[in-house]
């Protein structure tokens, strides 16, 4: 007998959580859900899917998608974060199998002391494996290693209409490709198996180089991508026509130890007042950040934690944007259209509405792992914007036009507002994806971008 065995109200002893706790990371849009179910064991999932009405529910991980891909306004969510058990791990081969609610942070805790690291990691470790698959996340090593989906060998998918299905590149290959970057719409991922990357130490040899023009950035990228496993640039979005930023490039260091970084530091206790982040403070922050790193050019040995997850050290950092939340704009632009990149930066700089942490990187040319995968050859650029109503949305529409004309795309995981035409033009495989959507599943994002 255990605590769930008797008399606990709710279907099958399921935990119905308080619905207002479920937001996306950008805290925009704020929506109300009807019910949130929190299964603790995989055996609770089939009934949950069976009893759900058509198009009514959506698996939810740790809510680190920025916009509305993880939201389901007026309908239900299945919070999968308690489905976080490991099923198998081979410390010799580095192959790991776990339930979809396991977070990347939990995997690092297990893997690093044994000399393994994630094959691909996004900028936060507080995402679930299910979320990493559903958004086919990328990282600073995209030019070498592609996306998370490229390292996935098998997954088990629970469908409301077909039960539990094993999906691999050979078995149910269509469903496999649809589930990678499938935004959680193709079924509930019961477990997944993927390959970790061997590391000699938990440290990275990192170089920082300042650049003062787009040409310099492109030259640095071209030069670095061959020699460095990880490359990324920080861009000062207030720098106007003379782009400036800092280029970070690194490799796993060979001579050091395998050491787990200690737990996180302070947190943001409540949504901060919105006047705090204005164009003066943000301009100042960007300039200070630039000069700090520009002065300190050179090589250093850095732990994996500050290199990959600088923002994880501040819990709930999204609250600095206040009650209205923020939007992140992440686009990719074909490299041939580098002028479009300059155009975007001018629009943003003129608007004075950007904030800190503009990030740019060149994607590699690996073919996408999923039907709706976002990364494609070209330059990607991401920047946060405090949500200031119409003004912010109008700026983004202007950016959309540049991206669309250049043949680029927006990242669904970061999006809360792109038009359905924009989505459908930049993700042409969406029609081929449609038949793979589980009839019981839907999301706010999906209804928005398929509305016409």
């Amino acid at each position: 007998m255990d605590s769930r065995s008797l008399d606990v109200p709710g279907a099958a002893g399921l935990d119905a959580a308080k619905v207002t706790d479920y937001n996306s990371w950008g805290r925009y849009p704020q929506v109300k859900h009807q019910a949130v179910h929190r299964p603790s064991w995989p055996d609770q999932l089939p009934e949950l899917l069976q009893t759900a009405p058509r198009g009514s529910t959506l698996p939810y991980g740790l809510g680190r998608s920025y916009g509305d891909t993880c939201l389901n306004e007026g309908r239900d969510l299945i919070d999968c974060s308690r489905l976080d058990r490991f099923l198998a791990f081979d410390p010799e081969q580095g192959r790991i199998r776990c339930e979809a609610g396991v977070s990347l942070a939990q995997i690092l805790e297990l893997a690093i002391p044994r000399g393994w690291f994630l094959p691909v990691t996004p900028g936060t470790k507080f995402v679930t494996v299910g979320g990493a698959i559903a958004n086919d996340v990328h990282g600073k090593n995209h030019h070498r290693s592609g996306t998370f989906g490229h390292h996935l060998s098998r997954l088990a998918l629970l469908r409301s209409d077909r039960g539990l299905l094993l999906c691999t590149p050979e078995q149910n290959p269509g469903l496999f490709r649809a589930t990678i970057a499938g935004l959680g719409l193709t079924g509930v991922i019961a477990w997944a198996e993927f390959q970790l990357r061997r590391i000699p130490s938990s440290w990275l040899q990192v170089e920082t180089v300042a650049f003062r023009s787009l040409e310099q950035f492109l030259a640095l990228t071209a030069e670095s991508d061959a020699q460095f496993e990880y490359t990324v640039a920080w861009i000062d979005c207030f720098s106007g026509p003379h782009l400036r930023g800092i280029f970070f490039r690194g490799n796993h260091a060979s001579a050091a130890d395998l050491q787990l970084a200690s737990a996180s530091g302070p947190g943001v206790p409540f949504p901060l007042p919105e006047w705090l982040l204005n164009r003066f403070t943000m301009r100042w922050f960007n300039a200070a950040y630039f000069h700090k790193h520009a002065l300190r050019r050179g090589r250093s040995l850095v732990s994996y934690e500050p290199f990959f997850y600088p923002l994880d050290s501040v819990r709930k950092w999204n609250l600095i944007y206040g009650k209205s939340g923020f939007l992140q704009y992440q686009c990719v632009i074909p490299e041939a259209a580098a002028s479009a990149f300059q155009q975007l930066l001018s629009l943003i700089s003129d608007s004075q509405m950007g904030s800190f942490l503009g990030v740019a990187k060149r994607f590699g040319s690996v073919p996408p792992a999923g039907m709706l995968s976002f990364p494609r050859p070209g330059l990607t650029f991401a920047l946060d914007f405090p949500m200031r109503g119409e003004r912010t949305l109008r700026l983004m529409q202007a950016l959309d036009r540049v991206v669309l004309e250049s043949g680029g795309a927006l990242y669904p995981a970061k999006d809360a507002r792109m038009s359905s035409q924009m989505f459908q033009r930049s993700f042409p495989e969406w029609r081929a994806f449609l038949p793979y959507v589980d009839p019981k599943l839907s999301s706010s994002f999906w209804r928005r971008v398929t509305s016409e």
Binding site: M1, D2, S3, D7, L14, D15, L87
Partner: protein
């Protein structure tokens, strides 16, 4: 502490405790009802570093299965040094108030069956002059409140039982730890209104693991603040307390 028997091993708090101990290479005998869940739990703890994991499917509320359980532990898991009792139910207290049958079942699961089971473990440890018995009761057992006195009565009874057991086993060097969590964010509390006081299972587990290793304190309140809250609640005179809608 190296070899631990967990009764109600698939409960949320038990799992959080097991995960922490597994990463330190401890050995487990996991007892719970569902064989399937036990199997999943076993795989998870092995990956996390447990040196040995045995499982036994048993309905602990059924006291007739208790002696078979002890036999199994004796034969297959000999030399175990710690027992953690972590099962219990929290039924809808408004229904319990008016249903003697429901209340009786609640008392059986939360008091009679754990007390019976721990009696067997006490007799096992006493002649060995070593070992540790830890059981999860609740702050709800510290004072009868109108909102949950049916559950509270069982947990209070269990706390009292543990208190006596501790005194009995003290001369033989066997430790008894009474664990009193405040409300924890688990499936068991899902139907309660959410409050900021809802503790995270892992932080409760951290306190429990520390107590298991140190064999102290005798009575663990977790999170710590509940020690002071319950102290305050206990000293309110009855003629005032009965008027409070707690």
């Amino acid at each position: 502490m190296q070899k631990i028997v967990v009764l109600g091993a698939t409960s949320a708090i038990a799992q959080a405790v097991e995960r922490r101990l597994a990463s330190e290479g401890k050995e487990f005998l996991l007892v719970a009802r569902s064989p399937q869940r036990l199997q999943e739990l076993e795989a998870d703890l092995r990956v996390r570093g447990a040196r040995q994991v045995l499982t036994l499917s048993s309905d602990l509320a059924d006291s007739s299965q208790h002696s078979a359980l002890l036999d199994f532990a004796h034969k297959q898991f000999s030399g175990f040094d710690t027992v953690l009792l972590a099962y219990g139910t929290l039924s809808d207290q408004r229904e319990c108030r008016h249903s003697a049958a429901l209340a009786e079942r609640e008392w059986h699961t939360n008091f009679t069956s754990p007390a019976a089971l721990l009696t067997l473990f006490a007799d096992h440890f006493e002649p060995l002059k070593a070992g540790c018995i830890a059981a999860i009761t609740s702050v709800a057992g510290d004072r009868g409140r109108r909102s949950n006195y049916v559950y509270g009565a069982a947990k209070g009874g269990l706390s009292l039982f543990l208190q006596g057991l501790r005194s009995r086993l003290h001369p033989s060097g066997v430790h008894v730890i009474t664990i009193k969590p405040g409300p924890v964010d688990t499936p068991m509390t899902a139907h309660l209104p959410r409050t900021p006081m809802l503790a995270n299972p892992d932080s409760v587990a951290r306190d429990i693991c520390r107590a298991l290793k140190k064999r102290s304190p005798d009575v663990l309140y977790t999170p710590r603040i509940w020690q002071y809250i319950m102290l305050a609640l206990r000293i309110i005179p009855e003629f005032v307390f009965k008027r409070l809608s707690l």
